[in-house]
Amino acid sequence: MEKYVFWVMAFLSLGSAILMIRARNPIHSALLLVLNFFTLSVFYVLLDAHFLAAVQVIVYAGAIMVLFLFVIMLLGVDRDDVVEERIPLQYPLAILLGLAFAGIAVWTLHTTVGGAQFRGIEAANQGGNVEAVGRVLFTKYMFPFEVASVLLIVAAIAAMVLGRRREEEETASLIGDSTPDGREPAREPAKVGDER
């Protein structure tokens, strides 16, 4: 059973990832990435990491990808982007180096953990995976956990500061003229003009 689920999900996962980096429309990319995150969540279930499977769906497929889609639609970049090559041979080189990297990684894995078997996590998961992860998280990893909360607050404040419009921009957009210090007026795209 695990075998069939693994191969189907591996196919879906790699397929959605490759289509994701090839899609011309960013919204298609985002939706394919959601599919990829769902397949990873299935892998987490197969690997007895039930807590992470739930977190993967809630945080990644839910929150983070909604944020991505929100920004894509807010910016209105859901059109084809420029496909011209600015660096000669960029695509062939990227694919060649990528294949070389994958080959080295798989070969390294083959030589190091090639014949390894799963020891099984049932002993550590005694009483349920969520309970076990919670116990480890709040004892052994208490300090990193608290630091992570600080990190999230800093990130929220940073997003507010970065997303704020400066006062000079506001006056410039109201007057419709150049900014006070004589710089070029900020080129506002038509699609993000709804804030005014």
Partner: protein, 100 residues
């Protein structure tokens, strides 16, 4: 029975896909999504190692990676938005000055 090496090889291929995405695309949002793909590939590796070694440290580390990724996405998308406001473009080729 699926062996750990198969999960790890799949994770390596997903990571490579993310690398190729970063190297080939121009749209900063797609580059960002490729970075998320790489982070998730590493998470799969960590969870596989956790089951392989029979302890939960790998799962906790993957959980912390998710937390940091969430913070990174918030800040990164805010930067992309403020660049887009100035340049009216999401292409990484257009953002070549740090100050203007």
């Amino acid at each position: 029975m699926i062996q750990p090496a198969q999960y790890l090889a799949l994770a390596a291929m997903l990571f490579t896909t993310g690398v190729v995405g970063v190297l080939t695309r121009r749209n900063s949002i797609i580059i960002f999504m490729s970075i998320e793909l790489m982070l998730n590939a590493v998470n799969l590796t960590l969870v596989t190692f956790a089951r392989m070694n029979g302890n939960l440290d790998g799962q906790v580390l993957a959980f912390f990676v998710m937390i940091v990724a969430a913070a990174e996405v918030v800040v990164g998308l805010a930067i992309i938005m403020s660049v887009f406001r100035r340049k009216a473009s999401a292409s990484v080729d257009d953002a070549k000055t740090l100050k203007w």
